[in-house]
């Protein structure tokens, strides 16, 4: 314990010895982590959106009245299922279609009840689920060309476009984070290098009197770790407060109810923990690079 406290104390002394370098390292970590936080928020929310959208991307295939006999319906079903990109094709009877319509109108839907039975004007249909939302247009065109199809309808193209935009944003942020991460690592490595250089005499005395290499290295690793921790405070606060504010002010959804935002609790705890761990990892890795290079064990 006494030893641990000593290492931490030495690490703090090291931080203040090169305050300018320390501050620049901390700032880089802060900026990097802000983007990491943004990246995590976008990624995890997009994942949730994708999950929600994937369930809703399907094609509604109306069957032509002239092909409502069982044999034709079955043949059409088989042909649809045989198409590339089709995951499932579920038959929906006229009654099922009416049920769906009534449900979609909510409380007022009951007025359509009178159509149930022989007077049902709706068409039989197939509900086609697509394996990959991106193929929806191609599959819809193929289905439209099949015999017995009166019309096809599908939604979600805009949704897919939006998702792909978010996906692109995510990739851009990812590259940015990787670049900033590398800069942060090198800045920390440089800060620690200065720290090691300024303690050259101390290190040589420690070696002479028999301090172990681990004992000599540890304060510098702590120094990197502390830079990481200090650098993470502001971005964690900003991302957490910002997300809670955004969630509240947007009513928990992004544009439409289909894009429900992930509830901030416990979500932000996980994001904050991830950010802290990343910051500590970057700090440790940066200082480890320097320590490995400049405090290489020699006899």
């Amino acid at each position: 314990m006494r030893r641990l406290l000593r290492h931490i104390k030495e690490a703090f002394i090291g931080l203040f010895r090169h305050i300018a370098m320390t501050l620049s390292s901390i700032s880089t970590i802060t900026i990097t982590l802000l983007f990491v936080g943004l990246f995590l928020l976008i990624t995890l929310n997009v994942e949730q959106f994708t999950y929600a959208v994937e369930g809703s991307v399907n094609i509604h295939v109306k069957i032509d009245q002239r092909f409502e006999d069982d044999a034709s319906v079955n043949t059409l079903g088989l042909r649809i299922r045989a198409l590339n990109g089709v995951k499932t094709a579920t038959f929906s009877s006229k009654d099922n279609e009416l049920d769906a319509m009534i449900e979609s109108f909510g409380e007022n839907g009951s007025i359509f009840e009178s159509y149930r039975g022989k007077d049902n004007p709706l068409r039989m249909a197939y509900l086609v689920e697509i394996a990959d939302g991106a193929d929806i247009e191609t599959v819809a065109v193929s289905i439209r060309e099949l015999e017995g199809v009166e019309a096809v309808a599908y939604g979600g193209v805009r949704v897919i476009e939006l998702l792909s935009l978010l996906e692109n944003t995510r990739q851009f942020v990812y590259i940015l984070v990787a670049g900033l991460g590398i800069i942060a690592i090198f800045l920390i490595a440089n800060t620690i290098k200065l720290s090691i250089a300024s303690r050259g005499l101390e290190i040589s005395i420690m070696r002479t009197v028999g301090a172990t290499n681990g004992f000599i290295r540890t304060p510098f690793l702590f120094e990197g770790l502390l830079i990481g921790i200090f650098g993470s405070i502001l971005p964690i606060a900003l991302v957490s407060i910002g997300y809670i504010w955004m969630f509240d002010s947007m009513g928990g959804q992004f544009i439409t109810p289909m894009f429900a935002l992930v509830n901030p609790f416990p979500f932000i705890y996980y994001v904050s923990a991830a950010m802290l761990l990343i910051a500590m990892g970057v700090g440790l890795f940066g200082s480890g690079l320097s320590v490995g290079k400049h405090l290489r064990w020699k006899r």
Binding site: R2, R3, R6, L201, E202, S204, I205, M206, R207, T208, V209, G210, A211, T212, N213, F215, W297, R299
Partner: protein
């Protein structure tokens, strides 16, 4: 205590620093190692403190074959040795007491025991009244005494002094030799002193080993040396 058997040392640049040196130094001996620059004095010290590995031969200190020591064991082995340098190597931002204590702290000595030993070491070199002074407030001789206190604080079996009087005038040099003799006498510490100072070697006669071009040219137990 210290045994060198047919020790050769050739550095990577091809320099033959030692050529078949054999010698034995008993526990409690006070030995001068003298010789001109490049004679191999510093190499002997580096071999003894485990910094270098002999190219051939055996270096044995306190029963430890130093050349065969695993890297990770070297720090523990070094706790048997104290080293005093010509340039003192004191930490300017630490007081006399803190400088001495530092050597004990970094080997993880228990706090109370470390403080007691640091105080005793300072007393032995006559610096009890300077504990709170900083190195820049001390004379060269006093600074070297702090370095000696730091080297003996861990109660080493061997004290290696690399030109300890090199930066001091004759009066201060005498002070240092007196302290080293006291340590040798009272603690039975083996002292290995590398020096250029012929006057000291002749005035304070002790076993004297002379090196030249990596060869042992004389080993006089009666002491004294004339080039």
């Amino acid at each position: 205590m210290i045994i060198l058997k047919q020790v050769f040392k050739t550095y990577k640049n091809g320099t033959n620093a030692l050529n078949g040196i054999s010698l034995t130094i008993e526990q409690g001996e006070f030995v001068y190692i003298i010789g001109p620059t490049g004679s191999g004095k510093s190499t002997i010290i580096r071999l003894i403190n485990g910094e270098e590995i002999p190219t051939k031969g055996i270096v044995e200190v306190a029963g430890v074959n130093v050349g065969k020591l695993r890297h990770s064991k070297v720090p523990l082995y070094r706790r048997n040795l104290g080293v005093v340098f010509q340039d003192f190597k004191l930490l300017e931002q630490k007081t006399v007491f803190e400088n001495v204590l530092f050597a004990l702290e970094v080997v993880n000595a228990p706090t109370i025991e470390a403080r007691k030993r640091a105080r005793e070491a300072c007393a032995l070199v006559g610096l009890s009244d300077k504990l709170t002074s900083f190195p820049h407030q001390l004379s060269g001789g006093q600074q070297q005494r702090v370095a000696i206190a730091r080297a003996i604080a861990n109660q080493p079996k061997v004290l290696i002094c690399d030109e300890p009087t090199g930066n001091l005038d004759p009066a201060k040099s005498k002070e240092i030799i007196d302290i080293l003799e006291k340590i040798n006498r009272e603690y039975h510490t083996t002292i290995l002193m590398v020096t250029h100072a012929q006057i000291l070697v002749n005035n304070y006669r002790r076993r004297t080993i002379a090196l030249s071009d990596g060869y042992l040219v004389s080993d006089l137990s009666a002491g004294g040396y004339n080039e």
